[in-house]
Subunit: 243 residues, 2 copies
């Protein structure tokens, strides 16, 4: 059976303007790969309702899971929850269980649960809460969309909260070989090997260090044995240029 | 007049698998913002022809410019040029001027221009070459799509090659204020100010350091004077919590 598929939707003007460098994509990609869920696409969109709604609809239809990051805080530019409700045509309001989580959290800190903070308890109808052990305000899963915070520490904690509950597939195993030859010299033999091993994916990622050209050849597949065998073949093909 | 809009298409399994952390998005975002071209969307797709073709068609239709990174080297997994030709329904073949650039480059290095390297001279009909001062193999512009390499040093050099030729808009000016209050306390007054200043965009980006909560409030706009004035208002509103 094929692995479950996934997409990620990153919501945030600050990434598109170059102010902030996204960190969540790389984290999620590694976590999903380890669990056998294939991340097939990532989209980064601005804080505009139509951009968010259109993207989540398209991705939710095309993939088994969608993971979003960003836009679920208390300020006026946090519009993700409303956009999700709108994308799926459901109502949204403050939910008692989410409110109770926030009330307990702010009570412990001696902080007022004011109107702005209460916005973080607005949850679309039919969603399940995602636990946030870092700062309490929950994320939520609505149908096949998992809505999480943009702050990396909170995003990572929320990913940890939901991943064990998702059905994974066969995790992809990968090994790599460093070849100290220009990609143009690697390309021919590599293409032949890739053709001979249709169950594996062979990728070539060039680098340049101190004026010397080389490439990391990465072999990916479900069978660790087949991957290891392909690695041995690469070492043989490229001889002393490979390591 | 509104600024030109842009999208970026990052092509590469290695980013979706978590093996590599993309660096080109952040670079391009900063460059475009400085030039007054608004980056509205980024998509990361896998090395699958249908994924690349569908994404580039959708983005080329929706935005003034599309910038792609990745998949234009000499190996079997470098399929971007063919996908672009297919997306726009044009032919692709080795082009004499691109071939001459490669021949001169490899001649200087005493390296053979073999069949694999010659693939990098395959250019879709009607495209203009993009200069690559780092490693010679050119990118190209086909209609409103700028096709560039994935290796960061080459990507950056290609961006530098084309940006001066693109019509920019009014560059966005931004200033930020650090407010040492929880976002829940910032949200109310910030929403009021955002409402009063419809020509500016006010974003709140929370952080947590040593258990203390705060947020960077970023003001963006075309008028440096208006942005500076808004910053002064924020400093007044949040008093000694702001800096």
């Amino acid at each position: 059976m094929a692995n479950p598929t996934a997409a990620m939707l990153v919501i945030g003007d600050e990434i598109l303007s170059g102010r902030t460098r996204d960190a969540n994509m790389h984290h999620l990609a590694g976590q999903l790969t380890a669990r056998g869920i294939d991340l097939k696409e990532v989209r980064v969109v601005s804080d505009a309702p139509s951009a968010i709604v259109d993207a989540v609809r398209a991705l939710a239809k095309a993939y088994d899971h969608v993971f979003t990051s960003g836009g679920i805080g208390p300020t006026h530019d946090d519009i993700t929850a409303d956009c999700m409700a709108s994308a799926f045509g459901v109502a949204i309001d403050v939910r008692p269980d989410a409110r109770a989580i926030l009330a307990a959290h702010y009570d412990r800190r001696g902080t007022e649960l004011n109107a702005a903070r209460l916005r973080m308890a607005r949850i679309p109808d039919g969603a399940e809460l995602i636990e946030n052990p870092v700062s309490a305000a929950p994320g939520f899963t609505l149908q096949n969309v998992h809505v999480m915070a943009g702050v990396p520490s909170v995003f990572q904690a929320m990913v940890e909260s939901i991943l064990p509950g998702l059905t994974g597939g066969d995790p992809l195993v990968s090994e790599s070989v460093r070849v100290d030859l220009g990609e143009g010299d690697i390309a021919g033999p590599l293409a032949d090997l890739a053709k001979a091993l249709p169950d594996l994916s062979l990728g070539s990622y060039p680098f340049q260090t101190d004026g010397r050209h080389g490439a990391h050849v990465v072999i990916r597949g479900v069978s660790a044995e087949a991957v290891a065998k392909a690695r041995a073949q690469l070492l043989e093909i490229f001889g002393e240029a490979a390591a």
